[in-house]
Amino acid sequence: MARTLINVPPKAKRGQVIEIKTLISHIMETGYRRNETGGAIPRDIINLFVCTYNGEEIFRANLFPAIAANPFITFFTVATESGTLEFKWTDDKGNVDTGTAKITVE
């Protein structure tokens, strides 16, 4: 499991646009680098990031090797109701990392 950092405001007013910040530790190996013996280092990147809000998808990103190591993504959403935000990162090896954050909407 990779380390993840998720920043969601714990409280928000209904209808307020909130910023969500996410970070996951990952090498994001491009597949274009070579090791000391000249062999290609195989590609290993996170290729998909999805965020759902109470089960409904609100943000999806397809990542390519041009994304820096330890992908940091920030985006926005409207605080509609209290509940849980779920975050899912999928890498080339099929590993899935997940994270959740709770939000209270007044």
């Binding site: 909130i18 680098r33 070579r34 397809n62 994304i67 190591a69």
Partner: protein
């Protein structure tokens, strides 16, 4: 016609041009594996098809001069009311000279509230970076930024 100079004599100029062209030929064969503006166009075409892209409504924010190509903060903001009928569907980022032209493709909807996102990218060389936003009505808007990179990504050995 009174032109008498019909037989060809190699002048000094002709010889110089000839040798210069011969010398330049091997250089053209050396080409690094990288996305050229043409492959970027092909990648854009693959995503958006034949539709025309207009400049405007998109603000791509990348520092114009970066020291380290391995991590470059990038953010995109698209002007849109983000209502149920008028919103930004997707934002695609492309580059010219990395080994691959795609950078990131983001899908959003009216629930985003604000069509903004930011991340950190890698750039292998000084080049243009393009952001294309796809609106709910099908129109496409873009912005491009020319970035100068002093230390390129992808070159270091492990």
């Amino acid at each position: 016609m009174t032109d008498t100079d019909t037989n060809f004599r190699p002048t000094r100029r002709a010889i110089l041009i000839g040798t210069a062209a011969f010398g330049a030929a091997p250089l053209m064969l050396i080409r690094r594996a990288e996305a050229t503006p043409d492959t970027m166009k092909a990648a854009i075409h693959k995503v958006i098809g034949e539709s025309s892209v207009r400049k405007g409504r998109v603000a791509l924010d990348i520092p114009p001069l970066v020291e380290n190509g391995n991590t470059i903060a990038m953010s995109v903001a698209v002007e849109s009311p983000m209502t149920a009928t008028d919103y930004v569907k997707a934002i695609h980022i492309f580059n010219e000279k990395n080994p691959q032209p795609d950078v990131i493709s983001v899908q959003l909807g009216p629930r985003a509230g604000k069509a903004n996102f930011s991340t950190r990218i890698r750039l292998a060389d000084s080049q243009n970076v393009i952001a294309i936003a796809e609106m709910s009505d099908g129109s496409l808007w873009s912005d491009s930024v020319e970035v100068i990179v002093t230390i390129a990504a992808c070159l270091e050995y492990n």
